[in-house]
Symmetry: C2
Subunit: 210 residues, 2 copies
């Protein structure tokens, strides 16, 4: 059927994503170039567009790979933590991965445009996988909490950690003094979990959803 003998379609995808992520890590999302990726892989731009449809398509595939690596990192940190403070391990894993792959990490979020439609289902699967890791640990810490409450709290905890993480990476508001952001984020998480624990055992004074 005319495919070049040396690579199947699936191998091609991997090639483009791998080399694309290498370039992304070098130059960042703004100076990223599909042409450059194609050149490094040794195929033409046309082939890249046949495989991914658009730059956004390639970006999505690369971000999915990043999400997979991120999930692996989190699971590894959890394994290390064992029966210790597993939530702290997750927070540390969040920060560590962002610090180790800053350009790839911000690409995940910067690509999410404000008015872009929802991501395709296969991509949302990757997101759900990572969130599932956190949900599981939050549920473990709050065994008496209802599943919706666990989901809501998880979302809030991730948002909290994300805010601290992104401010650290962007060096925003450094004028407010050099604090240990991981430690501070963990404090916020502990407080939120403690508050949720109280409202679970004595009935919610203030409901989590308004």
């Amino acid at each position: 059927m005319g495919r070049r003998s040396d690579h199947t379609r699936g191998e091609l995808e991997v090639l483009f994503v791998t080399e694309g992520r290498r370039l992304l890590a070098e130059v960042g999302v703004t100076r990223f170039s599909a042409r450059e990726v194609a050149k490094k892989v040794g195929y033409s731009i046309g082939t890249l567009y046949n495989v991914f449809g658009s730059l956004d398509g390639l970006m999505l595939a690369m971000n999915a790979r990043t999400l997979t690596l991120w999930a692996e990192h989190l699971r590894a940190r959890l394994e290390e933590a064992g029966k210790g403070d597993r939530l702290a391990a997750l927070v540390r894993g969040y920060f560590e991965f962002a610090a180790d792959h800053p350009k790839a990490w911000v690409a995940i979020f910067e690509n999410q445009m404000v008015d872009a439609g929802p991501a395709p289902e296969w991509y949302q699967t990757h997101v759900a996988d990572i969130m599932g890791i956190v949900v599981e640990e939050v549920a473990r810490v709050l065994p008496a909490a209802s599943p919706p409450a666990v989901l809501s709290l998880t979302r809030s905890l991730v948002a909290t950690v994300h805010g601290h993480c992104i401010f650290t990476l962007y060096r925003a508001f450094d004028m407010l003094g050099e604090t240990a952001p991981i430690y501070v984020a963990m404090e916020r998480v502990r407080e939120a979990v403690a508050a949720a624990g109280r409202s679970v055992q004595q009935g919610p004074l203030t409901p989590l959803t308004k």
Copy 2:
């Protein structure tokens, strides 16, 4: 001296920034075009580059204007709050402004690149102004806290609210259920302030900086 009689340099800056922000609000940061701005204002690209030096220069000027409007919005909300819950007013103001000017708001943060140097001082002034608003209110709620503790807590509170705000705007993790993000963010802020209040009155059990 050869300036076109109808506009001084300062007026030109305002013209470009105003029209630029209009375009930004329409098309967002990714499809923004300096040429388009110049065309709408009625000057050539060359003039735009004489005034701002680069696209980043124009972007910075536009973001500075956004920060000013944001600060005005926050102060207005504070005035409304009077002696009520002023921190809640700030959280509401944070979310409201982001929701009302989504494209301009994300531009403030997306433009902050990972490896870009620090912003020029005149720009940092605008950032410091907004942070000053929050610092003042945090200090008001925790009169016994030391200034460094107030700064550190402020940074953490803003990061927390920012995380919830950006997740809402990006519709990230919507699969975890539809919660009221403003309310949840306010819960996190209340918990953090309460915890800080406790550690102030009975001496910090765990120091804020590690």
